[in-house]
């Protein structure tokens, strides 16, 4: 979702439940801001649109079952047909999970096969415990936000407020695919995204960074330069937005924004640190693992 200046301010998923019925998710801290944003535009600019927004954040408890065995585990507890063709990626189904009425979404923020189970929150503990009773044989384990951050970064999935800072457009993030430029009506950010400044090719764009030394985990916020021998002040071309160690890659890896970065694949950049060290990194794709998405699409 963009502000009127065309800059990304939050992200999430929107599911069509019925012809006139949608469920929108946002980032954890962004929900109230998104609701206010929708109300603001509805009340001031488009009052003629017949629509109401109601927060159901507290009503639903959401549990994500993710990993290669997710289908097998969930199949033990649900009447929903989980066949990969019958219930495809980016779709949803209604049914029962652990005898509780549920909506299940096939959405993945980990890059793995994933099902997001939504039940009325008063039933959540029962569903959680049932999942774990059945999940023991699959070594089911809870995972926290730190794990989730690594998993999503390996896939190049952004976190609003981390990869974005109010100056990043969808195109800067390589997400032109999700902007409906061909909508037959005006939309928030449309005019801003056709300005010269947002269309220029040397904007800071999201890329992956692979440190030349795999033991290095770059510092988030570290500035990126093209010529480390340049006299200080060096021209800075971008900065690291997310950086972690990946057990799967057995290497540090990072997401960063770099001026014109999408045209700089394979080039080497430098990150001079305050302690005098200079790290070297290669500009690579933002997707470090499973570029074709085969693991979430099994």
């Amino acid at each position: 979702m963009c502000k009127d200046d065309g800059m990304v301010f939050d992200d999430g998923t929107t599911s069509c439940l019925g012809e006139n019925h949608f469920l929108m998710t946002t980032t954890t801290g962004g929900a109230a801001g998104v609701l206010e944003w929708l109300e603001l535009w509805h009340q001031t600019e488009w009052p003629e649109l017949q629509v109401y927004f109601t927060s159901v954040t507290d009503h639903w408890a959401t549990m994500t079952v993710t990993g290669p065995e997710a289908r097998k585990l969930l199949a033990e507890l649900t009447d929903i047909d989980l066949d990969r063709e019958a219930f495809q990626f980016m779709d949803w189904r209604e049914g029962k999970v652990a005898d509780v009425p549920a909506r299940v979404f096939r959405i993945s923020f980990t890059g793995e096969l994933a099902y997001e189970i939504n039940v009325q929150a008063n039933y959540a503990q029962h569903v959680w415990e049932t999942l774990f009773a059945h999940g023991e044989k699959y070594d089911l384990t809870p995972y926290g936000t730190e794990t989730m951050h690594v998993l999503r970064a390996e896939k190049g999935f952004i976190i609003a407020g981390q990869e974005t800072d109010g100056s990043v457009t969808p195109e800067d993030l390589g997400m032109k695919w999700c902007v409906g430029y061909d909508k037959p009506f005006s939309w928030i950010g449309q005019r801003a995204l056709t300005r010269q400044d947002t269309a220029r090719s040397d904007r800071k764009q999201l890329v992956g960074l692979k440190p030349k030394d795999p033991r290095v985990v770059l510092e988030e916020g570290a500035q990126i330069v093209l010529d480390p021998k340049h006299a200080i002040p060096m021209p800075m071309v971008g900065h690291v937005t997310s950086s972690y160690y990946s057990p799967t890659l057995d290497s540090g890896f990072a997401l960063a924004v770099v001026k014109g970065g999408q045209q700089k694949m394979g080039e080497t950049v430098y990150l001079p640190m305050a302690d005098g060290q200079t790290h070297e990194a290669e500009i690579v794709s933002t997707i470090f693992i499973d570029p074709k998405g085969e693991r979430q699409n099994v």
Binding site: N20, T57, R103, A121, H126
Partner: protein, 216 residues
């Protein structure tokens, strides 16, 4: 169901008849902070009414009023901050904003009620959202109830300003609650699940000097 309004939304009963233990938003608070038993010296008493049906109605007052009178047998409170109950006092409707009302009914009635309202409203522009899992209702009674509220909310709760039949959404100890006054002796707080634990612990803390107790 034949009317178009019903066909364009997709709803289902999020409650089940199956024997599954329900947990109210306060379950963790009871476990962690306890529930002081009622004592003679209690000047303030809390009682949670868990697992009620909570629906948010959105729409124009005139069209909603007709449907609500037909289905629930009470008039929609059209005046800002109005709160009305049915004859048994078990079902209530509260004004929340110019096109928004909160309906609270005995637990398990909400899905049937939603369907009947949708039928009565067929063709109109409206929205009904079931939020029963997302909030709980806490009753507050006792001679010190109002004093306790005075420490907790920024809103003026003096009887001259907060008569019976009024309800507001206000700031409660930096969080948000819906505060209502169904009768002379009773106040009600509708709290969101995410803030229930915090609100409960605040009430126990702020109520300590009144010997606050919890009826369970």
């Amino acid at each position: 169901m034949s009317n178009t309004a019903v066909e364009t939304v997709r709803i289902f009963d999020t409650r089940t008849e199956a024997k599954i233990p329900l947990e109210s938003p306060l379950v963790y608070a009871y476990r962690r902070s306890g529930a002081p038993a009622p004592a003679v010296k209690s000047r303030a008493t809390l009682r949670e009414r868990p697992f009620l049906g909570h629906l948010i109605l959105r729409g124009g007052a005139i069209v909603l009023d007709e449907a609500v009178r037909e289905v629930l047998g009470v008039s929609l409170p059209g005046e800002p901050q109005g709160l009305v109950h049915d004859a048994e006092g078990e079902r209530s409707i509260q004004w929340l904003s110019p096109d928004e009302w909160l309906v609270i009914v005995p637990g398990g009635e909400e899905f049937a009620l939603e369907n009947r309202l949708r039928e009565a409203l067929a063709g109109a522009h409206f929205a009904i959202s079931n939020v029963s899992g997302g909030q709980t209702l806490i009753e507050l009674e006792g001679e010190a109830a109002r004093e306790l509220l005075m420490k907790s909310v920024i809103y003026d709760v003096h009887p001259s300003h907060f008569p019976v039949g009024k309800g507001v959404t206000t700031v409660f100890a930096k969080t948000t609650v819906i505060l209502r006054r169904p009768s002379d002796a009773r106040w009600e707080l509708v709290v969101r699940r995410s803030f229930a634990d915090y609100t409960y612990r605040w009430l126990l803390d702020a109520g300590e000097e009144y010997g606050i107790s919890v009826k369970r």
